[in-house]
Symmetry: C2
Subunit: 190 residues, 2 copies
């Protein structure tokens, strides 16, 4: 998605440690109209996926997953990272090691929101080593639901997560795919 | 908003401790099309507010705030509850005591996303005692930004937060206003 690449170049910032900050339009501040366009693009890419539900993980995946869910007319579920007084009953959980935050956390989805046989499209903002997506896949597996594909806004291809998931047979689509990222030379796309 | 009241009655669950669970359509699982309709209603209510930005707090406020921002063609900013490696530079922070989670947490917004003179519409899913909104108001105050109004999906009127904010001169609009809530008698609207 050319428009996303342009926005990453003009508004993104490269921080130490291979971190790309897009907080100006895709994280703490959101360009809502642009995110809705990304949702349309995800709907176009996965129109034939047979998805019955979209699953993401809080927090930064929610906006783009919401936009995709709107475009595809599907319900959206997000995995929680933090236990809640509102989460009662059976839950599916998975451990996720975070690249950005350098810690392991647990994600959880109430069993009532992912049913057996459901066809789930995973949507997230970033794909780096792929740990968050593997956590979501584990949750779908526990529910006997099928993952029909993965859509992310930005794949950091050089971190390998996307390619290793593709090698396992998953369909992964990234709206922008970054080949390299450093403070000196900025962002290079694949 | 009659449709929201009906949805609360048909899909909401009352949990012990005056907690209304709407995780089936407004929290962990989202009825995206319905949330977009709530966004349209917020845009209708605040069309004359002069708002230049929408501010909410993660996580459950993001979806309805996103829908309102889309309907009003405004950028959306959310306050983070959890420190992040991506949050560099100056930040505004506030302490918030959570009714649902029974703990005090800090919320934070990067100073670059709320500017002096900005006219901010606060949007959240629930208004109970109003602590989260007071935290967001404190952040706007630190930024010398003006709060032009507050829109929430559901106000638990019996907890007093909305009325005490109104008494201080704030314009508060709730799409559904709950007069009482208990496990035996269910939900009564104002």
């Amino acid at each position: 998605m050319k428009a996303l690449e342009e926005k990453i170049i003009s508004e993104g910032k490269v921080l130490p440690g291979n971190i790309l900050k897009v907080g100006n339009f895709l994280n703490q501040q959101m360009d809502v109209e642009f995110i809705m366009e990304m949702g349309d693009e995800i709907a176009r890419l996965f129109h034939d996926s047979g998805a019955t539900k979209i699953l993401t993980v809080e927090t930064s995946g929610i906006a783009i997953a919401f936009a995709a869910a709107y475009a595809m007319k599907l319900p959206l579920v997000f995995a929680k990272k933090h236990a809640s007084a509102n989460m009662s009953g059976d839950t599916y959980t998975a451990e996720v090691a975070s690249f950005t935050h350098k810690k392991v956390y647990q994600i959880a989805v109430s069993a009532e929101y992912i049913r057996k046989g459901e066809k789930v499209l995973l949507v997230d903002d970033f794909l780096a080593v792929g740990n968050a997506l593997r956590g979501l896949m584990s949750i779908c597996g526990q529910a006997d639901a099928e993952v029909v594909g993965v859509a992310v806004a930005i794949e950091k291809q050089f971190q390998g997560g996307g390619d290793s998931l593709r090698a396992e047979g998953h369909r992964i689509e990234a709206l922008a795919k970054i080949a390299s990222l450093d403070e000196k030379n900025g962002v290079t796309f694949c």
